[in-house]
């Protein structure tokens, strides 16, 4: 059985779990964790292809994806905290001001 297919299937499962988590869940932090799952799935695909083809650029991209994920995590949590802070002081009952 091909190892490459195994890797690709695992990563597709992971991507699917992540994507459905983003669509199902309502908690901001869980949604963000699911986005991280999706990025990890992509990394796994890239590493599998990179290994299979003997080409290094896939591994380089994985390295950058990790960096970007870390940067996004920092900004994302800052945004979550600022929302939380205002919510506490302003006391809105729902985070859905911007409708209509």
């Amino acid at each position: 059985m091909s190892s490459l297919s195994n890797y690709l299937i695992v990563s597709a499962i992971l991507f699917m779990i992540g994507a459905s988590g983003v669509m199902f869940r309502k908690n901001v932090i869980v949604i963000f964790m699911c986005v991280e799952l999706m990025l990890n799935a992509v990394n796994l695909t890239l590493i599998a292809f990179s290994q299979f083809m003997g080409d290094q650029s896939g591994q380089i991209l994985v390295f950058f994806v990790m960096t970007v994920a870390a940067a996004e995590a920092a900004v994302g949590l800052a945004i979550v905290i600022s929302v939380y802070r205002n919510k506490e002081t302003v006391e809105i009952d729902k985070l859905n001001l911007l409708k209509g």
Binding site: T45, L46, M53, S57, F64, L97
Partner: protein, 481 residues
């Protein structure tokens, strides 16, 4: 790294370097001042000049195949710089009144611009990805610039979550393309001269890439975040995001699509074309029809920006040289129109404290004749009425679609433009033929000359480009000759 590499990357270096300089300046400056805005403009002007000089030189690929230096990349560099300059001009009064940190704002728009330059000139999907992320992260922060306003916080949160989600699709697309073609480098990709075996994976990779991009440009099924984010974000930021950000995404998607090796898709090319054409048609119709029923001007502009993304997608669907040039032209024109429109909204929002509902524009011609006049020009151009530049932009896009055999799509485009002209012209009717709903209660109107200069420049450019479309078509360099 040698001299040519350095010159090719110079606009990028100037933009990012000016951002760093502003941050340093800001560390030593206590009182809020205009210096960061002036520096921003100087940096953007310098980048545009360098790009203009590069444009006349021969096309090349720098850094061993990582960065294009050609007419396409430099054209987009110039329009990103123009957007940065206009945004800095418009932001002057807007930010000082909101007590936002001007230095940080300027640094962020410059870093975002450097990300866009990477997207428009990346010759490797790695560079395009990094550019996209640099731009997006800067936008997430800019959307949440008003930290004490719940609307702004929420806009940032929504934009961030959906943007990160879209990044996942975008990257998966890159991974599958990499797996199918064995390289992420666009130059290497376009050099592949025959593909012996291929399957649906490349096609799927491209479709996932399109999904990721469609999120970023707010095309039809993926547009839901746009009205909320553009409404909640600071108005000048909305103008910047909805124009330069979209133009950058389109430049990147054109780069990727135009480097697909011939024959790699086999029958898939037609499928991709149908997918993009469907996205374009739905975006145009949906955006314009929903915009009809909006009562808030920022939401109306957001839906109309979805429609404009549809017009630009029409050029992508055409997938030919005419389409590429038409995208360049329309991206430039759209950028001027939309930034100026958001600029007027920002101006009135600050001057009168209202100006976010359409009703607030009733009788504007009596109260603010100049603002009404400029807004009328912008609206006529957005509606695509000759002789303004918007008309020629649309004309070239429809021409590209017809050349590519997509006549039905061009017809959908024309029909949706006619629908759109209703709500654009409605604003003009409101301004000129209606009495103001609420009389000025003696509120001193604060004049804001710098914003007027920016909006006036953009409107003048729309008129000039409309009367002499040759200026733009020559700049795109490819064709129409």
């Amino acid at each position: 790294m040698n001299n040519t590499d350095f010159i090719a990357a110079l606009p990028l270096i100037i933009l990012a370097g000016t951002g760093l300089l502003i941050l340093l300046w800001d560390a030593f400056e206590k009182t809020p001042s205009r210096a960061p805005l002036i520096l921003t403009m100087a940096g953007a002007i310098a980048a545009a000049i360098v790009a203009g000089i590069n444009m006349t030189g021969p096309a090349s690929v720098a850094f061993g195949g990582l960065l294009y230096d050609n007419a396409f990349s430099n054209f987009f560099t110039i329009i990103f710089s123009a957007a940065t300059i206009l945004t800095a001009l418009l932001a002057e009064r807007y930010l000082l009144e909101e007590e936002v940190l001007v230095g940080e704002f300027c640094a962020l728009i410059l870093f975002a611009a450097s990300g866009m330059v990477m997207m428009a000139s990346g010759a490797d999907m790695l560079v395009i990805f990094l550019g996209l992320e640099t731009m997006s992260i800067a936008f997430y922060v800019l959307a949440g610039l008003f930290r004490t306003k719940t609307e702004s916080n929420e806009a940032a949160l929504k934009y961030f979550l959906l943007g990160a989600f879209a990044t996942g699709f975008f990257l998966y697309g890159i991974a599958l393309i990499y797996g199918s073609l064995g390289t992420m480098n666009l130059v290497a990709m376009s050099n592949i001269h025959s593909v012996t075996t291929s399957g649906p994976m490349l096609l799927l990779g491209l479709i996932l890439l399109i999904v990721g991009f469609a999120f970023k440009v707010a095309a039809f099924p993926f547009h839901q975040w746009a009205p909320d984010v553009y409404e909640g974000a600071p108005t000048v930021v909305s103008g910047y995001m909805s124009t330069a950000g979209k133009a950058a995404a389109f430049s990147a998607i054109v780069l990727v699509f135009s480097s697909m090796p011939a024959g790699a898709l086999a029958g898939g090319a037609a499928k991709i074309q149908i997918v993009i054409a469907a996205l374009a048609a739905c975006s145009m119709l949906y955006g314009n029809i929903v915009a009809l029923s909006q009562t808030k001007i920022k939401r109306m502009l957001a839906y109309s920006s979805t429609a404009h993304a549809g017009y630009l997608l029409l050029g992508v669907a055409a997938l030919n040289a005419t389409g590429v040039a038409a995208i360049e032209i329309y991206a430039a024109v759209y950028l001027l129109m939309q930034i100026a429109a958001f600029g007027i909204v920002a101006l009135l929002e600050k001057e009168t404290g209202t100006g976010l509902n359409l009703d607030d524009y009733a009788g504007l011609a009596k109260r603010r004749p100049w603002a009404a006049f400029l807004l009328a020009i912008i609206m006529l151009s957005l509606a695509g009425i000759p002789p303004f530049a918007g008309f020629f932009g649309k004309y070239y896009l429809f021409l590209a679609a017809i050349n590519a055999g997509l006549t039905w799509l061009a017809i959908v485009g024309v029909v949706s433009s006619i629908i759109a002209s209703y709500f654009y012209l409605r604003i003009i009717v409101l301004m000129y033929f209606r009495e103001p709903l609420h009389a000025d209660d003696g509120i001193a109107v604060k004049e804001n000359n710098i914003s007027y200069i920016a909006i006036g420049l953009a409107s003048a450019a729309l008129v000039v480009l409309g009367l002499m479309p040759g200026l733009l078509t020559d700049a795109t360099g490819y064709f129409f000759k």
